[in-house]
């Protein structure tokens, strides 16, 4: 254990990330130490151990240069009641004399063990073994000695290519390995960012919930009209307690309550939109209101299929799907559409959409509904699709 030094958890030049594992404790020889439940990070040159979060912050952590490792072995012990776990044993060179300060400088053990609650992950184990075999730290040393010669200004890439040239197939393999490691690192970094974001997001959600509940409590006291309206907008924008899958054991219950929530929140907007809303719009609105607990399109669709009551899902023959009010009547809509078409003599889809301020999809469906009921008829020409009042049907001719 006395080979460890205190060092900042930062990558040096030429050093790259290899693998990591969590909930790892260190044994000094066969003795347990206080270093439990930490995170280990393996780089090409060193092994870091830190309390959770320390390494991510690049704080001072325990560090063991891999050059101290002589060999690797493992022991298997029974874990808890069932299963077995594997501990990794690292046999170490004696510490150098003028070594920087580290933990337990007085230890006499010549090996350390890494262990976890359920042992170390297989990935980490393999990564450690491969890294030790690759001996990247040694290469860096030799290349530095070369650089010390005439070509001290060679770039890193040139150095690498020299080494690769010299080492033949082994060099190629190493190059591939390095590439794979780099990818690994990138992925790990990406996910690390994401988890930080999520952690922050949770705080943000908590904060906004807090604010909204405060606003609600104080609502009676605020007298200024605009503030009240502004705050009520804020409140209407979000769902305070979105239905999430975690709270339910069965899909059916989840979708049913999701459907109910969708129904509650969309009733007013759909009425404002003239009784119909395309599923794409619904998706945007619902997810915007839910904030971070986003719904997948599939979940939304399943929930919409279960809608019963004032709003229901409707599938048009064209395949387009909308939510529409139960009270929404095709007959009335088509008469209304016919009026619009008649007053304009003929209408294209985009013209109707503009007039009614609805999406193209809905405008088209409106016209198709009217066509299905024989109120309007189509004219397809080089100028595009237009709809005319259906004068072809005799019954309609009476009042044209």
């Amino acid at each position: 254990m006395n080979r460890f030094v205190y060092e900042e958890a930062r990558l040096k030049e030429n050093e790259s990330f290899v693998s990591r594992d969590r909930n790892v404790k260190i044994y000094d020889g066969d003795q347990k130490t206080e270093f439990e439940d930490g995170e280990v990070v393996l780089t090409t040159h060193r092994l870091f151990w830190g309390r959770p979060g320390e390494i991510a912050r690049a704080a001072i952590t325990l560090c063991l240069p891999l050059s101290f490792v002589i060999s690797l072995s493992e022991e298997t012990t029974a874990s808890n009641f069932f299963g077995r776990k594997t501990r990794i044993i690292l046999h170490l060179h004696p510490p150098s004399i003028n070594k920087p300060p580290g933990p337990m400088d007085t230890s006499r053990a010549t090996h350390i063990k890494l262990s976890g609650k359920n042992g170390l992950s297989v990935e980490f184990h393999t990564a450690l073994r491969e890294t030790l075999n690759a001996r990247v730290w040694a290469i860096a040393l030799t290349s530095e000695t070369i650089v010390k010669g005439a070509e001290s200004k060679l770039s890193v890439g040139d150095k690498l290519s020299r080494i690769q040239k010299r080492t033949g197939i082994g060099g190629i393999e190493r190059h591939l390995e390095a590439k794979a490691k780099e990818t690994d690192e990138n992925i790990a970094l990406a996910f690390q960012d994401l988890s930080v974001l999520m952690a922050m997001a949770k705080d943000m959600v908590g904060l906004s919930k807090n604010i909204s509940s405060k606003i609600r409590e104080q609502r009676g006291e605020i007298s200024e009209d605009e503030t009240v309206r502004f705050k009520s907008y804020l409140l209407s924008l979000g769902i305070d307690d979105p239905v999430t899958r975690d709270n339910f054991t069965s899909n059916t219950a989840y979708f049913n309550s999701l459907a109910q929530q969708i129904c509650e929140m969309l009733l007013d907007p759909i009425e404002e939109h003239g009784g119909m809303m395309s599923l794409a719009d619904v998706y945007c609105r619902v997810n915007r209101a839910r904030g971070l607990e986003l719904l997948s399109p599939e979940d939304l669709l399943h929930a919409c299929e279960r809608l019963s009551g004032p709003i229901k899902l409707r599938r048009f023959p064209s395949g387009a799907m909308v939510l529409q009010l139960e009270s929404h009547d095709d007959e009335l809509i088509s008469i209304d559409t016919l009026e619009k078409v008649r007053s304009a003599e003929s209408l294209a889809v985009e013209e109707l959409a503009k007039q009614l301020n609805i999406s193209l999809l809905l405008a088209k469906e409106r016209l198709l509904v009217a066509e299905r009921l024989g109120k309007v008829c189509r004219d397809e020409s080089v100028e595009g699709l237009r709809f005319y009042p259906n004068r072809l049907l005799a019954c309609d001719n009476d009042y044209i």
């Binding site: 066509e371 008829c377 189509r378 004219d379 020409s381 005319y388 259906n390 004068r391 072809l392």
Partner: protein
């Protein structure tokens, strides 16, 4: 010859697009088939080709609309069903269209022959359609090929017999 009276639908753009609404489509095709028969009778034409793009029947230049070949074919097939048209080639590009069905034509000719007492006499097809005697009849000036088909139908019923002479036809009514 008086100017042909186009129906109002002729200037209604959707009339040139096949309507998906069933009832509308039925009505549309009915107007079209009537229009076909009336127009062809007006210009005294018995054969049309689907690709005859310049026929005023197929396009209305004033509103810049024309019938698609598919729709023309559909209309002709509709006419075929009611016995007013028959394709002349296998690709169904050239059609014979007649304002009366072959049977009606046949009966018309037969009745006229009986009225004028020409039974048991032989006459040529040319005499029938272009002769001075038949100017008042519906089949005056009709296409000889169509008449031939109508008479073949009569022949099957045993009411007449066709005789071929030097590439032209004669007929004897019983």
């Amino acid at each position: 010859m008086a100017e042909f009276q186009w129906p109002w639908e002729y200037t209604f753009p959707p009339f040139f697009t096949l309507q998906p609404h069933e009832e509308t489509r039925r009505q549309q095709l009915k107007v079209w088939t009537d229009l076909f028969l009336k127009y062809l009778k007006h210009v005294n034409r018995f054969t049309i080709g689907i690709n005859d793009q310049n026929l005023p029947l197929f396009c209305n230049e004033s509103i810049n609309r024309r019938l698609s070949p598919e729709l023309i074919l559909l209309i002709l097939e509709q006419l075929q069903q009611s016995g007013h048209a028959a394709p002349l080639d296998k690709r169904r590009q050239e059609w014979q269209v007649y304002s009366y069905t072959l049977e009606e034509y046949g009966n018309m000719v037969y009745d006229w022959i009986q009225e004028t007492g020409q039974t048991n006499s032989i006459c040529t097809l040319y005499e029938l359609v272009s002769g001075e005697n038949s100017t008042q009849t519906e089949f005056h000036n009709m296409d000889e090929a169509v008449l031939l088909n109508a008479l073949r139908l009569l022949e099957e019923k045993g009411k007449c017999e066709l005789i071929e002479m030097d590439g032209s036809h004669g007929v004897k009514f019983f």
